[in-house]
Point group: C2
Chain length 91, copies 2
């Protein structure tokens, strides 16, 4: 196995379609008071960034997906997307 | 002015560097129990997706930046990044 390298991970966790999003609805109702009337469909979610030591891209993605599915997202109501870059790049 | 088109916006809100992140620290402490020991530097943030009606890309980005800076992020402790795509594409 190669020496592990460091990868930057971005996980975005979103509520699944059809799941009520009161935080997003509240934001949407607040926008006209700022003079913004063209905003629709606001959905609030979570984002997580971390570094992961892995042998290669595929290993980093596999480990990050475990983190996302088992710790960061509730798969009953949320879905997650995972992006992996070599550390030092931008995600 | 051209007819407004619909743009998909993704706003990521992160705590600024140096601001304590107890949620991220808690996640990091929980990971060894899942058998993941190579994860470091966990930072928790928020993500928001919405659609915005705007004349063009630049207008959509300008409006979305107002939403991010005035409503979604607390600029004292948070920074935000805004990504705009024509609606129908993937962000």
């Amino acid at each position: 196995m190669a020496d592990p390298a460091l990868f930057s991970v971005l996980v975005e966790v979103r509520l699944r379609e059809g799941i009520a999003d009161p935080q997003g609805a509240t934001i949407e109702r607040a926008l006209p008071a700022l003079g913004l009337t063209g905003v629709t469909g606001v959905r609030a979610g979570k984002s997580f960034r971390f570094d992961i030591a892995a042998a290669d891209d595929a290993d980093a993605l596999a480990q990050a997906t475990v983190v996302a599915d088992r710790l960061l997202a509730n798969p009953v109501i949320e879905e997650s997307s995972v992006t992996v870059h070599p550390a030092g790049g931008s995600a």
